[in-house]
Symmetry: C2
Subunit: 320 residues, 2 copies
Amino acid sequence: MKALVTGGAGLVGNALCRKLLEQGAEVLCVDNLSLGTLRHIEEFKDRAAFKFENWDVSRPGWHEKLKGRRFDLLAHLAANSDISLGRERPEMDEERTFATTFEVLQAAKALRVANFLFSSTSAVYGADPVMPTPELAPRLHPVSIYGAGKLASEAYISAFVENYGLRAWVYRFGNVVGRRLTHGAIFDFVARLRKNPAELVVLGDGRQSKTYIDVEDCVGGMLHAFERSPAGKTHAERFQLFNLSTTGTTTVREIAEEAVAVVAGGKSAIRYGDSPIGWVGDVPKTSLDVSKISALGWAPKLDSTAAVAASIRDYAEWSR
Amino acid sequence: MKALVTGGAGLVGNALCRKLLEQGAEVLCVDNLSLGTLRHIEEFKDRAAFKFENWDVSRPGWHEKLKGRRFDLLAHLAANSDISLGRERPEMDEERTFATTFEVLQAAKALRVANFLFSSTSAVYGADPVMPTPELAPRLHPVSIYGAGKLASEAYISAFVENYGLRAWVYRFGNVVGRRLTHGAIFDFVARLRKNPAELVVLGDGRQSKTYIDVEDCVGGMLHAFERSPAGKTHAERFQLFNLSTTGTTTVREIAEEAVAVVAGGKSAIRYGDSPIGWVGDVPKTSLDVSKISALGWAPKLDSTAAVAASIRDYAEWSR
């Protein structure tokens, strides 16, 4: 199998490249290193089956150098996954989260890639959906620029499936955590505690409760659903949506306390804000209905709180 | 009231500009004349309250010349509304249907426009939704590139409402018809019958059944919902979605027969294809649940078939 992975130097990209290589695939990893880093792919550099290109996939025609190459699978993970940064610079977020998808779809069309995997997000559901939220929730009104970029991406994937013959697997992730974080609460807490072990300032009241998934479980789930989905001809069969997370949730307070325990020996004072959200566009509660992917026989190894604990421990070590 | 109307030289734009002028508004109409034409706005050229600029609103920073100007209302209607053309040139459709929206939202943010009106489409529902389709349908999987661009637009409008303080009214139109058509079945049938009155070739089997709304009813409904929506603070109150059409539907066969009657004195042979759809991405049946806008006291003057008949008669005269 030949695979093309965009955003392959990010958190999920690193784990997906490793898993694909383990399965014997040839992997071309493309990343512009805006959030991903070379250190994330260093472990693959002596593997003949692995190639890396520092390309910006938001540029029209970025794929022209690949003309005539054949890929069985294209996993599009490139995005600005830093939600609060997206609010400050919506044009940057739109370029990295949406325009990348459109231009990668154009690549899939030009290269006639049959199978398109996409990392979407629970942020497409916006605030106040039914919880746990099913894939066919009646309200898709994102409140973050990032969530908008992902829903916009899904919309074009749906239309490209109908018009240009590819099949797509769209995964709406909970918060993905693991060793190679590039942003997010754990990433921030570890950095702040290193700077000031005496005190940890938390945005919001810490009562936000979200679902977290370990990155290994996440890429395992992606490939599980890809391999197990039966072939089909209708649009609904060729455009497969999956919520992908654990069933549990973890509060920001639990994350803060665990980070303090691991990084600062439990000795920091934790100071919370007053707001029920961390920033504008933050969705304070997420809980995903994962019965669709579960019905394909998939289950995560770690629950939400165990995934968070492992990520804090592993990321603190990795980033030391 | 000062209003900025993008796509103001199109079918809906023409009617909206006229209605706003009738209500005493000052109107700045912006259009790049890709589908709209100067003839559509000729009737306003002596009105002091009307100004026209030939600008392409998909370009970042297009609004810089408006710096310091205040608008009470921004109606964003600019798009490539020719669905089958969008399939042939997805990059053109993405630029005109999606990128225009993103850059017009950036304008609304920069100019601090409080009220944002947007022409969306029933095409966001894709194929096979529940019918009549309510605004909170569980499936938003567009099958046309055009529908994708509109859903992508809605996603960013939703996020801009949350992040940058505007309120939005998003109208999912049925097929809008009237005198100043720029594309679509009636437009095509009239052109073909003028070229060859002996025979009318119809794409698809003619059994497609869709909901049509007269453009005067359409802009009346837009302003009705805008004026009657109560103020609110929650995202759901500030991001208002409305299906906007008639309750009835009309088949392509009925349109073809009416066009033959009006343009060719009933004498053309009509030849249908075999396909249940007119082109890839065509949604063969649409029927919208309009109970939300009806509850605000709005009703169209013309039903679907009367709107079609009036459009054929008026457009045939207008385009003679």
